[in-house]
Symmetry: none
């Protein structure tokens, strides 16, 4: 094929295309097994074109995880605003927050796969989640909502684990809805499953 610019070509479009395909590939195969050669083949461009838009494989991966994290952070800060406006019970509030998160995951399955499971930075992110939740639980414990018998950091860790797994196997597979999963979680963690 001839060299030079293609007819009607547009850099923004090409870049977006490469990014989308990269997201698909990273989500499906993980970082190592994803090949630039495959990405460009699917995008119908040559390898140098890739490097026109992204400095390296490493960099495009980080760019993708950043997109995920930014969106997730946006979501949680919105959630916080909401809390203050509406007048809800604690349980309802938490349930609604969880629903939002699960909904976000459901709407961004590939990004979630990468940013929440494959990225190195996911570790850090979850650690932060655990810390945040621990703080909240401690506060609510002091306010008398929660029992004093639990080490809240372990409860938080447990909850994040539950979220991870339920996201992967229920939300991302489409088996359960965000609302259902949120409800189960809140019910279980609030009241347990033992018959009274």
């Amino acid at each position: 094929m001839a060299r030079g610019r293609k007819v009607d070509s547009d850099g923004e479009v090409t870049k977006r295309l490469l990014l989308d395909i990269a997201i698909e590939q990273f989500a499906e195969y993980g970082y190592h097994a994803t090949k630039i050669s495959e990405i460009v083949k699917k995008a119908n461009v040559t390898q140098p074109t890739f490097y026109l838009y992204f400095k390296s494989k490493e960099v495009i991966f980080q760019e993708i995880t950043k997109i995920f994290q930014k969106q997730l952070i946006n979501l949680t800060s919105e959630s916080l605003l909401e809390e203050y406006i509406e007048e809800k019970s604690l349980k309802k509030e938490i349930q609604s927050g969880l629903t939002n998160i699960f909904t976000f995951f459901l709407e961004n399955p590939l990004l979630t796969q990468i940013g929440f499971y494959e990225a190195e930075s996911a570790r850090e992110m979850k650690k932060n989640m655990v810390e945040q939740i621990t703080e909240n639980l401690e506060t609510e414990k002091k306010l008398g909502y929660f029992s004093e018998d639990y080490p809240m950091n372990l409860v938080a860790e447990s909850l994040v684990g539950s979220i991870e797994r339920l996201t992967l196997n229920e939300i991302l597979t489409g088996s359960s809805s965000p609302a259902d999963i949120a409800k189960v979680l809140v019910d279980v963690y609030f009241s347990g499953i033992q018959k009274k």
Copy 2:
């Protein structure tokens, strides 16, 4: 340099050595980033020696995950036997079962890292765990121990997620003991954290 068999060499010993080092490497770096060249360097043998004992990188990895799975299955069948012998409350039984599993993880951190987190087959294994737990929960629900309001497969999924995360961040790091983690889990999942 001289070629051929080393003095005092023993196939079984060499194989075990390679396996042990491979376990370390896979546990630390994961499948892709682990290199055969590094394994044999640490074992002080050459690359063809590796292929004398293992057909491929893929195969040794599978062999390792099989070791993990076999041991884990052994453990759970023992557990079952135990249950029938001793006379315990359901909660105690479950707590004791969880303690056993966490203890096993603690005693086999590298194998656990690989077989429970890195292997493709971990997915399948956890699915089986979820199914098994779901069944048990259903049974116990019918026996009147547990509330009828919960979709037990989701509870099971949630529990496995909790186990995953607590193993990785509390057990394998040495931050908490198997007994403590088991207790928290059982308490939370049985009774919830809400103050009554």
Copy 3:
């Protein structure tokens, strides 16, 4: 971004700019390590603009070496004219010629670096210098100024070597002045360093 001609753009100016930057780069990094992408970045234009003015990397390099050679030839022909006008001793004449050359090098350090050291054509040029000097020395030998014991082509070769090295390490670094270097050369080559 908008395409097409920039406001106030002027082909000659752009070409000169590219040429100047290319001179800097070739002088600093040599032919191979100099990148078109770097030249155009520093010139604040795009790569096709470069090819608007120069057919190839090879060609701009040759253009630069030609500039150097033309100027150097100009200088030496002026020198010759001068010789006929003023009435000097042979030694003074040569010393003055050398001073002129070194001064030219000092005033055009980048061009010199390229045209006298990096260009393939520098070889040819120096060969010509050697031949010219050899002829002169032979003439002066016949005129009785110089000893008959020396193979003048080797002396000429030696002298050009001295010039090369002293230019690079004394003139271009600013360590010595053209006049000083010319004096040392003439003194050494005329009389030697041995104490009489």
Copy 4:
């Protein structure tokens, strides 16, 4: 072609072969224009074989320049020993030393091309040569052998330039013999070419 070891293959031989071809290529084309792909093609092996013996292109180049430098250093230290044994005039001594160096260059033309002209480290080496020669000249000046009118560092610099150029254009081309070149140099630098 099949994989694995070739019949009768020998690592030492292959490594030496690659080294020899690399020397040829670096000498002819310089560092940048020399390609590993070309070296291995000429050696009739594949690219990975090259990396079996040399860590990188950079490293094999350095290895080659080190060989040159070591041999040259050996030579000059031998020379020094010799000086003390034989009873010669200063001029004869220097002439003999130069002859040795030129002979070494003549016998190792490719290595010389690389180590004395292409390597980055050649700069440093020549700087050291200049310093060493300067010291010697200063000493001999103090001993009354040489005139006090010369800045000896410039004379040394000039001499190294002469050596460089004469090596490249007379020795390595086979146009003149080491002895002849050494004689001319010593004669010129000791006595000059002016008729007395």
